[in-house]
């Protein structure tokens, strides 16, 4: 059990009388590639908001490396090593691409020269030629890459990619997948939330499916594709 990096026990989130999530029990192994699928409104983003600390769960607990982090603030979770990208890219406008990466480096206590580290990460995601450009000038693909670069520059142990491939072409999806595979090879556990099924099927070692805030299925990509509950969610009766 010692290789479980992230664990959720009975996590629930309510918005007024509406139960957006849970109760959910879910573990993530160190270095695992986990895919999370489910229709819109199924609670995927609420789940990662509970993991990253944007929301506090109403019930249940989130454990990171054995420590209960349910009530700690989002920035402290980021410093512990839980990082994320956003469904709609949120670049730090008014800053260059390089400065976007210096923000997490300023606050996440990463050893070594910050600027060198930022440049190296930007090179690894293919943004080396955009370092001095304002983030507002990036294309959609570059914004996605910037989100990922900003998320991984602080040496996270878990990266949550929230629809990192939405709106991208097939070639661009391949580029983003290559980045995520490379990151995973370096030992980072990756949670991919995605609607692009062939991408999530290719990437994930394990996939979980959510519907109306509940986890309804878990398994390999083949098992998930053949699961009648998942088929019902996506194709109806």
């Amino acid at each position: 059990m010692s290789d479980i990096v992230l664990s959720m026990k009975g996590v629930e989130k309510m918005f007024g009388a509406f139960r957006a999530l849970g109760p959910v029990d879910l573990d993530l192994q160190a270095g695992e590639r986990l895919g999370i699928i489910g229709p819109n409104g199924s609670g995927k983003t609420t789940l990662i908001n509970c993991i990253t600390g944007v929301y506090r769960p109403d019930k249940g607990s989130v454990f990171f490396q054995g420590r209960d982090i349910s009530q700690i603030e989002a920035h402290k979770r980021a410093r512990l090593g839980i990082s994320r990208s956003f469904q709609i890219p949120r670049p730090f406008t008014g800053m260059t691409v390089l400065e976007n990466l210096l923000v997490p480096l300023d606050y996440c206590q990463v050893d070594g020269n910050k600027e060198e580290r930022a440049r190296s990460v930007l090179s690894s995601v293919g943004l080396a030629n955009r370092i001095s450009d304002p983030s507002e000038k990036l294309t959609q693909l570059e914004l996605r890459k910037l989100e990922l670069a900003r998320a991984l520059v602080g040496n996270p142990k878990v990266l949550i990619a929230d629809e990192a491939m939405a709106g991208l072409s097939e070639e661009e999806i391949d580029e983003v997948l290559a980045i995520l595979f490379a990151l995973n090879r370096s030992g980072v556990a990756v949670i991919m939330i995605e609607h692009i099924m062939h991408a999530v099927m290719r990437f994930s070692e394990r996939i979980v499916c959510f519907e109306t805030g509940r986890l309804i299925a878990s398994g390999t990509s083949t098992e998930i594709a053949e699961n009648p509950l998942v088929q019902k969610v996506y194709f109806g009766e």
Partner: protein, 316 residues
Amino acid sequence: MRKNSILFLTGIVIVLALGFLLPWTVRNPFYFFVGYVVLQYVTIATGWNILGGYAGYINFGAAGFFGAGVYLTAFLYTTFGLPLPLCILAAAVFGAILGVLMGYLTLRIQGVYFAIATLGLVVVLETIVHNISALGGASGMAVYGPRPPAWSSGPSQYNFTVMLVIAVASVALARFVEVSWIGRGLRAVRASEDAAECSGVPTLRLKLLACALSGAVLAAAGAPYPFYTSYVEPVTAFSLIIGLNAIAMPLIGGTKSWAGPVLGALLLASVQQIATVTISSELNILFVGLVLIASVAFAPGGLADLFGRKQGRAKP
């Protein structure tokens, strides 16, 4: 030290040297009387911009901090005879505490709600001052300042020099904030609080720090005011015009760097002072409005941004 920092420090030394030498070359004290107001607004605009510009929290309560600085100095000087430098320091500390209190109560709300809440600060403080007889209540209090030191050629020149030092210190503080991890964090907050928080930025603590620094500068801007006018009363000290100018000047100059508020204040305060003398003091607000409209139409990112683009730099 980076080249830009060396240039900035050199600029500061030159400005201070000119400021100290000016009273010995320009004899008419009126210019120093006017110059004081311009420098006061440079300080106010710079202080406002730390929270309003870098972090994007529009603070309508600048006059509250300014008035607090005015009244604290008036009280400390008339009651305890505290020297001006200590009064300025006390005002800055009081402004910082007031900033943290305001921030703690209001920073969980954003946008127009935050703006309205900060406007409430001015009303609350003005009402409190109105009802404290030790501060002169509604009728105000006279403050007979100390004789200027021997190295100064007169009271107006002395007040000008004091205000110049405060303005330069404020601009230096704003630049330090801007280029440091604090400024990067605040700009991240301005762009997206959730993304900043998920990047490890302690957003609430950083915003409270910005409130404290902004409050300290705004209150320090008000500290020498009792000696400048020799009389303080609540309506002037907590005037909405101060709050309006505090917002208009950085918007006109540009909110993304320390140079913007300085440019905006130099331009707008100078125009206001010239208008006051040559046309009518009542037309001040009209000029603010006209310059603001022109700025929105022709330089929406502010003058600093416009100059930056003209020089071929990327829009920040």
